[in-house]
Symmetry: C2
Subunit: 203 residues, 2 copies
Amino acid sequence: MLDQESTDTEALIIEAAKKVFFRKGYDGARLQEIADESGIGRTALHYYFRSKEKLFSTVMKDFFSETERRVTQFDPCEVPIVERMRNFASSYMKSALRNPEFDLFMLNEFNNNPDFIAEVLLKTIPVNMHEHFIVPIEEAVRKGELKGDPHQIFITLLSVCMFPFTGMAMIKKMLKFSDEAYMDLLRQREAFILSFLETAFKA
Amino acid sequence: MLDQESTDTEALIIEAAKKVFFRKGYDGARLQEIADESGIGRTALHYYFRSKEKLFSTVMKDFFSETERRVTQFDPCEVPIVERMRNFASSYMKSALRNPEFDLFMLNEFNNNPDFIAEVLLKTIPVNMHEHFIVPIEEAVRKGELKGDPHQIFITLLSVCMFPFTGMAMIKKMLKFSDEAYMDLLRQREAFILSFLETAFKA
DNA sequence: TAACTGTTTGACATTTTTGTCGAACACAAA
DNA sequence: TTTGTGTTCGACAAAAATGTCAAACAGTTA
């Protein structure tokens, strides 16, 4: 068969695997389900990607090398920290909306296999969070522009961005949101966060 | 053997199972590991609790009927909403510190089996979040005491409390925290949140 | 001590999931 | 049509995890 079609099948499998892995986690994912989702036989999975682990590894690398990153580029150091935090939140929310199930998956991977996921992640986003966020926040606190412990501020920034995705299932159930209604809420959240950041840490 | 000892073994197993389930999730948990952690044979698990599912179910019910709830009591409606939010955050942080691994586990359960976990949870904490938080926040926004969409405000409250626990592994890795240093940060977070709540949503 | 009860253990069975292999297949080029 | 290459499929093997059972065991009571 043509090389083209082969690549297509591979891509098809990777897409299907991505969905299933993100939904169920590595342990919960079943090769059979991935096969069904791709519309191919389970044996073909082994033909293209030797084993579950190799498939997983490929999926992860593919995911991070795609445009699917939470933040594609970080501001240079000249940009004031408060603006940088805003941009981070904006990029994050926009990206996460395209893959709402990824965040919880990622937290689990950090729990189960921190080294692997950290390596894959840092390979594509080689940003030192400490230098890039903590240090500048410290400085802003010293100057009296922000108030509070720098780590706590940064963690709060992460919290308000990520949690609505990681906690999606729980919040929907608790507040009786439909899938569509909750997606709407997520879409509106960027604006909420930006306005929230105006006052949240102001000294 | 005495009934006393039997109960002790059961309790021992439940404690061990709790640890393993919270760390690994239902899918990731292995009966062998639970047996090892309890210091008993794997077959004895089946003697006490027929199956993995039954054991899990018992663990969950036990956990929620214990004092291990995130918020043991909610304020009556007379208490002003802002103060209620503060109390919620305080209780939550204190409780979560005793079981830091539970939160991520719970989010996963909500993902995998929302009905089961919601039922168990609501059986012990029969609080309607909408009535208890959303409606009063709406009112406060109308009165001009708070600003922003009520749902977004409530989700933000949840975020700043829960995320530091659910995202523990990720944050530790990202910011190069040691286990002890991160526990310290968590202990200091209650105070941070309380001061943060003073300004975050003020109109 | 003998009979009884609840507990533990090891050997085995079952189920679930993953992995392998060779035959069949489709299609293109010789 | 034959040969070759890459792909698919079904049957089967292996591994991993859960579940069952009867025999041994440890105490308690008659």
